[in-house]
């Protein structure tokens, strides 16, 4: 194992350093781990395999160059903050869930759920679904995991998040080629493709968020005027995160509950504000040490500086960050306002002849429960979720 230290430019905001550390894993398959060393302001990279370090260093410097924020710096704002009093974080929350909670690892960034953990997930999801119905008269839906590539294309996903897309591909319809593939794997080999022509172009991907389905389902329609339309759904979402996929805080396949609003600007913004108020009450009932702050999406390198600036400067994205240790927090929910972006791209009208404004609240259920168990332990987390379900 070889370790590289790559200096970072001075005065980069801490959230940019964190993002660069995460993106580093996508630079080369030889990278096993990346760490941000605040003391020396450098990126520390563990490599496996021989002699690729010069090439990797060049790629990392290229990445850092592309992600530099320069004169566009905007500091994230903290809007709400809450510390919990009991104070002791469990360093073994993950182990506790595995040993007693019914959580098990089935592979890289993929887990199975049963027992207490499955019960907690269902309870929390049911609670959020009821809130969506009560506060927004949201229509409940059940979408697919497969999402048409066309919908992600409309959302600009392949340009902004190419690193995290999971494509759903199948063998191209060709009798001899399928037979050859079958024959090649008759001795029990791992699947490999011989040539890109063997697979059909990816007309579907795995959905990275629930709300793309809402926009897709409404494509070409015009919504009733003078009101906000609300939908809610639970679904499995997929974001490939390479070597960042560890433990329960970063899964390739995770459970998301989303509430989506469509309508005119002020009403969508008011709905988002109302959701924040209700969810902050949930944060209190779960007695969480947490904060709500402005944030940006994990755009890939080239998109990063300008889109980060745009999102932060316009308060388009708020994240609920919940602490999992005294100095680490994870994003467990986001509250987003997209202006007319999706209304335009999916040709959804707002009743006034103009494209609809949209917004959404998205909850990462495994993450929220994991943070809760880190702060309170499994037994108390079950009681707190139970209590919240009765009182909210």
């Amino acid at each position: 194992m070889e370790t590289l230290a790559i200096p970072l430019p001075a005065n980069l905001p801490p959230d940019v350093c964190t993002e660069i550390t995460k993106r580093a894993c996508y630079c080369d398959a030889a990278i096993v781990k990346s760490r941000y060393r605040q003391d020396s302001n450098c990126l520390e990279i563990d490599l496996q395999g021989p002699g690729a370090s010069g090439d990797v260093a060049a790629k990392l410097e290229h990445l850092i160059g592309k992600m530099q924020v320069e004169r566009l710096a905007v500091t994230p704002k903290i809007l709400r903050e809450r510390s919990f009093e009991s104070g002791a974080f469990s360093a073994k929350a993950y182990e506790e869930l595995v040993e007693q909670g019914g959580l098990w690892v089935s592979g890289q960034g993929t887990v199975g759920r049963s027992g207490a953990f499955m019960g907690l997930l269902n309870r929390l999801d049911g609670l959020l679904e009821r809130l969506a119905a009560r506060e927004f008269q949201a229509v409940s839906q059940s979408y697919n995991s497969l999402v048409p590539s066309d919908w992600l294309r409309r959302a600009g996903y392949f340009a902004s998040f190419p690193h995290s897309v999971t494509f759903a591909v199948h063998l191209k319809e060709d009798f001899e080629a399928i037979e050859r593939f079958g024959q090649r794997h008759r001795q029990g080999e791992d699947p490999v493709f011989e040539d890109v022509g063997e697979i059909a172009p990816p007309e579907y991907c795995l959905s990275p968020a629930v709300c793309y389905h809402t926009y897709g389902a409404l494509m070409g329609q015009s919504l009733p005027a003078g009101t906000v339309s609300a939908f809610t759904a639970h679904g499995r979402c997929f974001r490939y995160e390479s070597k960042n996929l560890t433990g329960l805080d970063r899964l390739w396949e995770f459970s998301m509950r989303e509430i989506v609003w469509l309508g005119v600007r002020d009403e969508v913004l008011a709905a988002r504000e109302r959701a924040i108020n209700v969810i902050w009450r949930l944060v209190e009932l779960l007695d969480l040490s947490a904060r709500l702050e402005t944030a940006c999406d994990p755009f890939f390198a080239s998109d990063f500086p300008s889109l980060r600036f745009f999102q932060l400067a316009n308060d388009l994205k708020y994240e609920l960050k919940v602490d999992i240790s005294p100095d680490v927090s994870i994003a467990c929910a986001s509250f987003n306002y997209h202006e007319r972006f999706f209304g335009t791209r999916f040709e959804i009208g707002a009743g006034d002849g103009e494209p609809a404004h949209t917004g959404c609240a998205a909850f990462g259920l495994e993450r929220l429960l994991y943070a809760c168990v880190c702060q309170h332990g499994l037994k108390r987390a079950v009681e707190l979720v139970e209590n919240a379900a009765e009182r909210l």
Copy 2:
């Protein structure tokens, strides 16, 4: 549009002709539709695009040759049968679900669910989960849609069902390559891969059935002696079916509830028998015109003759076929016994030092509900499922 007629060999069993008709779609991307013409004992193929017909005919003859059953013919047996009295099939069940039931098409073989249809799915799934707990003390689990390719490899899936696998692939970790992919799609193009080296080898696929997860989760373990271990889970399953993906009876992504048994031979077989008895009671409560018959899996061409013979001759697979019109039925559930196949491949011991025998009951929820609506209409289907949930 050009139409080809390919003669079939005389005296092929009807279920083999049906399978050949389905497999035909995988022979060439130019094939739009295939039909079995019983009167002339031929395969009728619609083609799009110019001048490929000679090549396609050769591929189809190759397919038919590989799927010929010759001296291995075994006729499927009907074990139970039931006709419903009310008698009138709705030809508009699908349209009724779309218009009033909350079903909508989101793409090829993919549907969205809300309203009555989503309610029916949840109700039916809950009913089956409770039956699994009551009859078999089954442990309830929640698995992923992503399944390690290694698990499908162990199950021989890539050799037997290469045509229907959905691979979950992502871009290989390489900064320049990911940047290039992003740049290439900046103008809103559909995603394409330039070269097979651009994507990482598929370490994950989308699960074609729930039970692979059960075997994967138990890999390398030894189960308690002298009893049968039972698990149940609901999950989305994925089988790419090319041009056969139409309506609600054949979805690329569908909902499956499964019950899995592991243990010694006689107890696994007894559990399967018991499941059949309980489910036949459900068939009666839903007042379905249906039959239970021996069946075989949809193996690709080269595997077909011997594996079909093996499954049919050894009563390894029973299918619940439910009528959707006076002369068409669809498989809505299967009851399988795998001998020691999965116990051996996944190294699961049965407590006696030998690999476990396994079996499973699998329910295709959309299909079962669709058949119910075909036979009774949506309103009555809701009442019947409700009634069954109370009485079973």
